[in-house]
């Protein structure tokens, strides 16, 4: 028994020592390191955005590369685990990454981004929508390629008020994640700015509640059905909540964040109508910008499937803006690249303009397509940019 253990220990230790991944740095190429999830829960969210990033990298390489060098991709799996995320960040840095790309979700991406920050490297969240994915959380070298969740809530409120004449709003928040709260924070910011719009009620639920009957009863007992319900939630609880709301005969307009973007889930709620989603680009093939539809075709060619939701797009935007900054700075050195990124004001990208400042490495204003789902069919019906950016102070205090 004891000898077993000793042999076991010896083997274990030698195995620990044996494989040490070699560190290398190469001046002939530029390295983009992906510390993202290749397995576990986040994989389904990271992979599509990563594929989009790969498409942009291939485009750049085909066009002669960046600063005359080819871009090489290296990857380490975070396994959807925070401690593993820190390791993955350190690993791609060891492999010489000039840019560290981290997981889509802020919570899971932060450990790797912090590792990059510690090594003085630029890090980009694939699609995090919390203000902390940047200066306010990780540090001065960190950016996010997406748009803040609060902008989605504010966009929907202002759009529904202006275009759909909504006056009575109801706020239903799923307290599961910070993203959900972010949407409602934006909604809360925007609502008082809309003359004679009022909040007729609010409630919370939890993403994994098997039933939201009690919440529905509260809406049903209002003197009149609200014009619009701001539903701040995400998958998978979103589908359940929407299904139960509609089954209960609540037909109010439902406003959402981008978390419900895409059509893959619509089969669960047949004939869903009066339902609105903000999208950075359309995955349904009807984007007003033909270049987006071209991108969708290319994405399908590379990955074998259509983009499932708008969260594919930030990956493309990320490489796009970073490469532009590198080109302008003439180097991949972090502080020079950050300085160039911070000079970007309404920098056009395929999926809406991007602005970075020395205060905010994220978008507190953004152009959104409004997708309406009617009779179970999604269609882009409008485009909206909030009239005023959401102040950084308000965002940071949340």
């Amino acid at each position: 028994m004891k000898s077993y253990l000793k042999i076991g220990m010896g083997a274990a230790l030698s195995a620990l020592i044996l494989s040490a991944p070699g560190a290398f740095a190469d001046d002939e190429k530029i390295v983009v390191g992906f510390a993202t999830a290749a397995s576990g829960f986040m994989q389904a969210y990271d992979k599509p955005a990563e594929d989009a990033a790969r498409i942009r990298i291939d485009e750049i390489n085909k066009a002669g590369g960046l600063l005359g060098k080819q871009i090489e991709m290296v990857a380490a799996d975070t396994k959807t685990d925070r401690a593993e995320g820190a390791k993955a960040g350190l690993e791609v840095i060891d492999k010489g990454a000039d840019l560290v790309v981290v997981s889509c979700d802020y919570d899971f991406g932060a450990p790797a981004a912090l590792a990059a920050e510690g090594a003085g490297k630029v890090s980009f969240f694939l699609c995090a929508e919390s203000v902390k994915a940047g200066i306010q959380g990780v540090g001065p070298h960190s950016f996010s390629a997406s748009v803040l969740a609060a902008v989605q809530g504010a966009t929907m409120a202002e759009w529904a008020y202006t275009k759909k004449n909504a006056r009575n709003f109801y706020r239903l928040l799923d307290t599961w994640t910070e993203y959900n709260k972010g949407i409602c924070d934006g909604f809360d910011y925007q609502l008082p700015k809309l003359a004679d719009a009022k909040l007729v009620g609010e409630d919370t639920f939890k993403n994994d509640d098997p039933s939201i009957a009690a919440q529905i009863t509260r809406i049903k007992s209002l003197p009149q059905e609200p014009d619009a319900i701001m539903l701040c939630t995400m998958m998978p609880g979103a589908v359940s909540a929407i299904k139960q709301l509609r089954a209960a005969g609540i037909n109010s307009m439902i406003l959402n964040g981008s978390g419900v973007s895409g059509s893959y889930w619509l089969s669960a709620v047949p004939d869903l109508s009066n339902f609105f989603v903000p999208d950075q680009g359309s995955v349904h093939g009807d984007d007003p910008n033909p270049k987006v539809n071209e991108f969708n075709a290319k994405y399908k060619e590379v990955t074998g499937g259509d983009p499932s939701s708008q969260y594919v797009y930030p990956g493309y935007v990320m490489i796009d803006v970073w490469a532009k900054a590198v080109e302008r700075a003439g180097t991949t050195e972090a502080s020079a690249v950050v300085a160039e990124l911070e000079k970007m004001k309404d920098e056009p990208t395929l999926f809406g303009p991007r602005t970075f400042t020395s205060e905010l490495h994220h978008q507190n204003k953004g152009r959104y397509l409004i997708t309406e789902i009617s009779g179970g069919k999604p269609k882009v019906v409008d485009e909206w940019t909030i009239s005023e950016p959401i102040p950084v102070d308000y965002l940071a205090s949340k």
Binding site: M1, M9, L13, P21, A83, K87, A110, E178, K181, A396
Partner: protein
């Protein structure tokens, strides 16, 4: 009558061997010296702290607790509160008391405060819970975990709710973690040969007889609970400093089951089991990960698909338990070869062992 040597004299080799194992792991990190491997070793030391913390209560009392990770959460947040820059706290965690809001301590003090805070909480909770035993105690401890996590996930102004707390100083050198693991092993060892530890183990194996001999079971359990609570809090603080981010959901069922599994697979009732469970399972996990990335064996690269690692570790755990239902160490302690396996000090077969006898 022949004078028996003291427990200390008979068992001191156990902690020495365990510390030597930890030192070997630390030296492996020094030899390899790459960022990711360093981080792996740090993670092993943190798990040693947590699993030994579990052992102090579960191993000695025989009561399975699902709630200990709650103390880990308390510790992680405590060190975060104390060591972050006051400016960050003032914008995100406004509800903290002023004294914490303005504090900017070194991480060493953060670790200490985390352990003390967790111990105090464990004392208060233990006062109420320690009269329960068996499955009722397990479920009550789980309910405590659920309450802690729910409160920390929703108390916006103090914990930032689900939002990650960032800005915690990150420590990437292995030695503080190693030191904590050693301290925890030593404390656990001395507790288990202390009067209280022996009494508690007697109560675990023969509750009625122990109570009849004057062992105040709730009291002895409370002592173990507080010590293990402090260790769990320390582990949480170490975790916070190793990745620089804390969120409540890190400290919920996932971590609870992983640490419990390591304890049970190692051998629930022995300190050696706690340490070996961590080291062996972590090593297997690491090797599987290398296979996932691809290992070059004589020119051909062997890889396993992503996700197989998790399935494999599940199978490995079941297989180990099938052949060793009482864990790899069979609930005994490691001792120096040549010395007899001691009968006391954690080396005695548990009641569980007794049950395993062929029927």
């Amino acid at each position: 009558m022949h004078q028996r040597p003291s427990i200390l004299a008979r068992t001191w080799t156990t902690p020495v061997i365990l510390i030597a194992i930890l030192l070997a792991v630390a030296l492996a990190a020094v030899a390899v010296s790459t960022g990711p491997f360093n981080q792996t070793v740090i993670e092993i030391f943190i798990r040693v702290v947590l699993v030994v913390g579990l052992y102090v209560f579960i191993g000695n009392s025989g009561v399975i607790s699902f709630g200990h990770i709650g103390f880990t959460c308390l510790g992680a947040y405590m060190t975060a509160w104390l060591t972050m820059l006051p400016a960050i706290k003032k914008s995100k965690l406004k509800g903290l008391p002023d004294i914490i809001l303005n504090a900017k301590l070194q991480y060493g003090w953060g670790l200490l405060a985390a352990a003390v805070f967790a111990a105090v909480c464990a004392y208060v909770i233990g006062k109420v819970l320690m009269r329960l035993s068996g499955i009722a105690a397990s479920i009550a401890s789980f309910a405590v975990l659920a309450v802690i996590i729910q409160v920390y996930s929703n108390w916006d102004s103090v914990t930032g709710a689900q939002s990650s707390v960032v800005g915690i100083p990150i420590i990437r050198t292995i030695w503080p973690y190693f030191a904590c693991a050693v301290i925890v092993v030593v404390v656990a060892y001395f507790y288990s040969i202390s009067r209280s530890g022996l009494a508690l183990r007697a109560a675990r194996d023969e509750a009625t007889a122990a109570a009849a001999s004057g062992v105040d079971i709730p009291r002895e359990r409370l002592i173990a609970f507080v010590i293990s609570g402090a260790m769990m809090g320390l582990g949480g603080a170490l975790f916070a400093h190793s990745v620089g981010v804390v969120t409540p959901d890190t400290f919920y069922l996932g971590l609870t089951f992983i640490t419990l599994s390591m304890l049970v697979v190692g051998g629930m009732n022995s300190l050696s089991g706690a340490v070996l469970g961590v080291v062996v399972l972590s090593t297997i996990i690491q090797v599987l990960r290398w296979f996932e990335k691809g290992i070059d064996v004589g020119g051909t690269v062997l890889t396993i698909p992503n996700g197989v690692q998790e399935i494999a570790i599940g199978i490995v755990m079941i297989v180990i338990l099938m052949f060793r239902p009482t864990g790899m160490t069979r609930n005994r302690e490691l001792v120096w070869p040549g010395k007899k396996l001691s009968a006391e000090a954690g080396a005695m077969p548990s009641s569980a062992d007794g049950k395993t006898a062929k029927t």
